[in-house]
């Protein structure tokens, strides 16, 4: 049986205790909201896309250590990156969480950085939804920003 240390890696707890890009943004920033109906976790993603770049991102809401740290790492990973790169990362992350969305196999050549630590979540299937919540919410925010 996988142990707690497989799930709660130190870097995850660090992001949980000191979340990056925490806060909110006023319009014209776009906002999207994600809910995990099973546990009541809520994530808000605030986003400003400028010239095809994720110029600013803030994370609100509340949830467990996995959903919060995943959101924190995600915000750090996509901030300042081109939208296409952010979308590719969403695809890659969900693939790592064993969520098959079809489409091409993600390019896994670039290092994942802190996000690598969330790999252990796959061994705890119940928690995959926690880890993926913020990524789905980001995808929605990117869609809104593209409208």
């Amino acid at each position: 049986m996988p142990g707690l240390e497989d799930l709660y890696r130190e870097i995850i707890l660090d992001h949980y205790k000191s979340p990056r890009n925490r806060g909110s943004l006023e319009p014209p920033a776009v906002r999207s909201e994600g809910h995990n109906p099973l546990c009541g976790d809520e994530i808000e993603v605030f986003l400003i896309v400028k010239d095809g770049i994720v110029d600013e991102i803030k994370i609100g809401g509340q949830g467990c250590s996995i959903s919060q740290s995943s959101a924190s790492m995600m915000s750090a990973a996509v901030k300042g990156k081109p939208v296409e790169q952010a979308r590719a990362l969403i695809h890659r992350f969900k693939h790592m969480m064993s969520i098959d969305e079809g489409g091409e196999e993600p390019d896994t050549s670039a290092p994942l950085g802190d996000l690598e630590a969330l790999q252990g979540v796959v061994k705890f299937p119940v928690r995959i939804k926690c880890a993926v919540l913020s990524w789905n919410t980001l995808a929605e925010a990117l869609d809104i920003a593209a409208e």
Partner: protein, 410 residues
């Protein structure tokens, strides 16, 4: 008969399971209960030796199956002291039973300008069906608020009930454990001219139930929370009300006659039992009722009260100000369902650490989001005890919680 929890435990095979070298500590019975051998055997025996359609075929096997199916209905009726056996309606689950009331009684009786009274501690099953019909019919929903210790605040009940047509409330909160004064609430509803609907999902499995002493009009509960199988709920209703209501689902079994021009419906209970029924599950519930009756519901309640006192004291003694227990601290006013917050550790993370010790609790909103908002929490940890839980289960909970605290010290 004296109550021996170890003998009770021996009846539930799953409680002897060892997972990852550790015994199972099952504290999620408010969610769903475990099953004793007598229930498992009754269902298996029926499938091996007696399974056949009910209420339609003329051969011996079918007649015997029908007798067993109807016999289970009689057992359920006796268990809650229903005046008439045909007032017991089998449904898919308690949620469907509540939907049946709302769709059938509600559609016939509620329109714009009417009011229905619910409480702030209801399960979604006793909220959403009303909201769905209210959106169609335009009646209003009023809410009985709560006191700070998780009891219903009845100070304005008469005002809330004034002009209302129905008062639908839980007999025991699935989050706070609060046991509501059901007979008093039914009387208040009747005084205002409203019918009284009791969601008894958390009450029927845990304490003696007498629908006549409550003087309720409808009572709903589920088989799976009272050591019976899943897939079966019960609606009890007053015959006069059930007779006056239109059918809920249409199809086979619920009709008296069908012509091209239309149909006439069957007598109770078939009127509300469209299609092939959960026959095997009903046999299982009958065995569950026999099991609980043999133990004695007074004994079940007394045991759970002891466990509640022990759990409340142990959690407070060991964790002091680190733990916030929601609901009443008085075991006489509550059942053995205990929701709590522990420091700032998220309930999901607590349940993960508890799971490493095979301590099974629910972490989440418990299908009661309006109540959770009132508590100011997205989620709580809920440990719920039943007749098979022991003092050592309480210790296991506290030990695992202590481990969670160490792990997540912020």
């Amino acid at each position: 008969m004296s109550f021996d929890v170890q003998r009770v435990r021996a009846d539930f095979p799953v409680l002897a399971e060892i997972i990852n070298d550790k015994p199972l500590v099952y504290l999620d019975s408010a969610n769903t209960s475990q099953k004793p051998n007598s229930v498992i055997d009754a269902m298996t025996q029926f499938m091996q030796h007696g399974y056949a359609p009910t209420n339609r075929s003329a051969y011996q096997l079918a007649a015997d199956a029908t007798d067993k199916f109807e016999g289970a209905r009689a057992k359920v009726a006796a268990f809650i002291n229903a005046p008439k056996v045909h007032e017991i309606i089998y449904t898919k689950n308690a949620t469907e039973a509540l939907n049946l009331i709302v769709r059938s009684w509600g559609t016939a009786n509620l329109s714009a300008g009417d009011a229905v009274v619910l409480t702030h501690m209801e399960h979604h099953a006793n909220i959403v069906p009303w909201q769905m019909l209210a959106a169609e019919r335009g009646f209003t929903i009023r809410w009985v608020p709560l006191t700070s210790d998780g009891l219903l605040d009845l100070s304005n009940l008469d005002t809330l009930l004034d002009g209302a047509k129905a008062f639908s409330f839980t007999a025991m909160s699935n989050v706070l454990g609060t046991i509501n004064p059901t007979a008093e609430l039914c009387a208040a509803a009747h005084k205002a001219g409203a019918i009284a609907i009791v969601d008894a999902c958390q009450a029927v499995p845990h304490m003696p139930t007498d629908v006549q002493a409550w003087d309720a009009d409808f009572v709903t509960f589920s088989s799976h929370k009272m050591v019976g199988p899943s897939g079966l709920g019960i609606l009890w209703g007053r015959e006069s009300l059930l007779d006056a209501m239109p059918p809920f689902l249409g199809g086979g079994n619920m009709i008296s006659d069908v012509k091209l021009e239309g149909f006439t419906y069957a007598e109770l209970p078939a009127k509300f039992e469209a299609g092939t029924q959960p026959v095997i599950e009903a046999i299982g519930l009958g065995a569950a009722v026999d099991y609980l009756t043999a133990i004695g519901m007074d004994n079940v309640r007394a045991h759970e009260q002891d466990i509640t006192v022990l759990a409340l004291n142990s959690l407070n003694d060991r964790f002091g100000s680190d733990i916030t227990i929601h609901g009443s601290t008085d075991a006489a006013l509550r059942g053995a369902t205990i929701s709590f917050a522990y420091r700032d550790v998220h309930p999901h993370d607590i349940s993960q650490v508890l799971d490493q010790n095979n301590v099974c609790v629910r972490a989440g909103h418990h299908c009661a989001k309006p109540l959770m908002r009132l508590l100011g929490a997205n989620a709580t940890v809920r440990a719920s005890f039943y007749l098979y839980n022991t003092p050592s289960d309480v210790t296991a909970l506290c030990d695992a919680l202590s481990e969670a605290g160490d792990f997540f010290t912020l």
